[in-house]
Amino acid sequence: MNAAFVAATTSRVLTQLRRDRRTIALVLVVPCLLLWLFHEVFADQPLVFQATAPAMLGVFPFVTMFLVTSVIMVRERTSGTLERLLTTPLGKADLVLGYALAFGLLAGVQALVAAGVALGLLGLDQPASVPVLLLLTVGNAVLGAALGLGLSALARTEFQAVQFMPAVVLPQFLLCGLLVPTDRMATWLDWLSRVLPLRYAVEGMDRLTGAAAVTGLVWRDLIVVLGCALVALLLGATTLRRTTA
């Protein structure tokens, strides 16, 4: 691991992202619009918004970063830039961490904007701790990025990479407790959701909003999310190959 290589990679990726204004705008604006739309649809049932908005704040960064990372990584793999980078002194861990930091930063800004809109404009109950909420959001983003990175190895084209989104994200979305609380699901579904990281992301968000203090369970959720992100990053790094047969 080399800090200078990580920093160089993060700065390179951020410069690339900065050039793509439209993607940045979509990443920042779409979650806010969806939150607002949700707020309006349930205008006469404010409790529904209070119950669901925290979970949405947990899901957005996961989905966005999964998409952005898988497409960018497929591009790196197919354009030859990845093969070339791996012939330089850059280590695989440096590359993966450099990406994770860049996307984590973007996700942090996304979380700040979306949480600001939800809390400030749409009247979502104050969370026990805004910094912990942001930390959990960034954890979700890095988790999404890490899964996107790993699955990009299975995609030959950017088109295929996008198709992985529903396959990876939708089952977790259905099971995470957003649509039906996990304790009202069939037992086997409940157990299935326990091994899927998005459940902890959503649960953590729920436990934070409207609570008076950050409980131990929130910290557990945060650790599970960050742990899964780390494991996914390590697995993602093993899909980078220096040599081909």
Binding site: A4, F5, R12, S79, T87, P89, A245
Partner: protein
């Protein structure tokens, strides 16, 4: 002394024999041309040297170490045939990234490849020849001891081609070993030594003058034909 020494190198890809037991050496500080028609195995050979291609059998020593050795990554500059640079970065930003990965300053490499005036243009907006020179600059910026260049002069006008060959010559004079692949036989005369590949076999390894003399050919295309068809000199 040789920068590259290969003996009995055999590579199979997808069941197809791409390199069939090759022996060759590349002298240090030389400009060596790797010539042959497309599909002859040039790219595969370069990928073996840079450590990106696994091989079945044979011995490959690069700068005195086995190909793919970790320490070689700081000492080899490599460009792929399709320029592998980031289109959404400027020329300077691409070069700066590679400079950082080697812990070297950016210096004047963009001027060296004739892109001094284009440094802040996005690669996306550049012509094919300019993009391939950005890629070359990325390989040069690490101040490598060995340069492996896969068809770096494709699509360039004669003036730029001449300038790049002058650059390769200057690098070699400074002790850098330059191995350049090309399918344009004309470029062969600019090299110190030639490696001629055909269908995964090395059919000649000599200086351009010796090749012309030994085949009795008038030009490189003719020499290649005579070697392939076994026409006696």
């Amino acid at each position: 002394m040789a920068s590259v020494e290969v003996s009995g190198l055999t590579v199979r890809r997808g069941g197809k024999l791409v390199l069939a037991g090759i022996d060759l050496s590349v002298p240090a500080g030389s400009v060596t041309g790797l010539l042959g028609p497309s599909g002859s195995g040039k790219t595969t050979l370069l990928r073996v040297l840079v450590g990106a291609q696994r091989f079945r059998s044979g011995r490959v020593q690069v700068l005195g170490r086995p190909a793919g050795h970790r320490s070689l990554r700081a000492e080899i500059g490599y460009t792929t045939q399709a320029p592998s640079v980031y289109p959404d970065l400027t020329a300077r930003e691409n070069v700066r990234y590679h400079a950082q990965l080697h812990g070297r300053p950016v210096g004047r490499v963009l001027q060296d490849v004739g892109l001094g005036g284009e440094a802040d243009r996005l690669v996306r907006a550049m012509s094919g020849g300019q993009v391939s020179r950005v890629s070359l600059a990325c390989a040069l910026v690490g101040q490598p001891r060995l340069l492996l260049l896969d068809e770096p002069t494709v699509g360039l006008d004669p003036v730029l081609r001449r300038d790049l060959w002058a650059l390769f010559r200057a690098l070699a004079a400074g002790g850098v070993t330059v191995l350049v692949s090309s399918h344009v036989m004309d470029e062969a005369t600019r090299c110190d030594r030639l490696l001629l590949l055909r269908e995964g076999r090395l059919i000649a390894e000599d200086s351009p003058d010796n090749l012309l003399a030994s085949t009795g050919a008038t030009g490189m295309d003719d020499a290649f034909l005579r070697l392939v068809e076994g026409v006696p000199a």
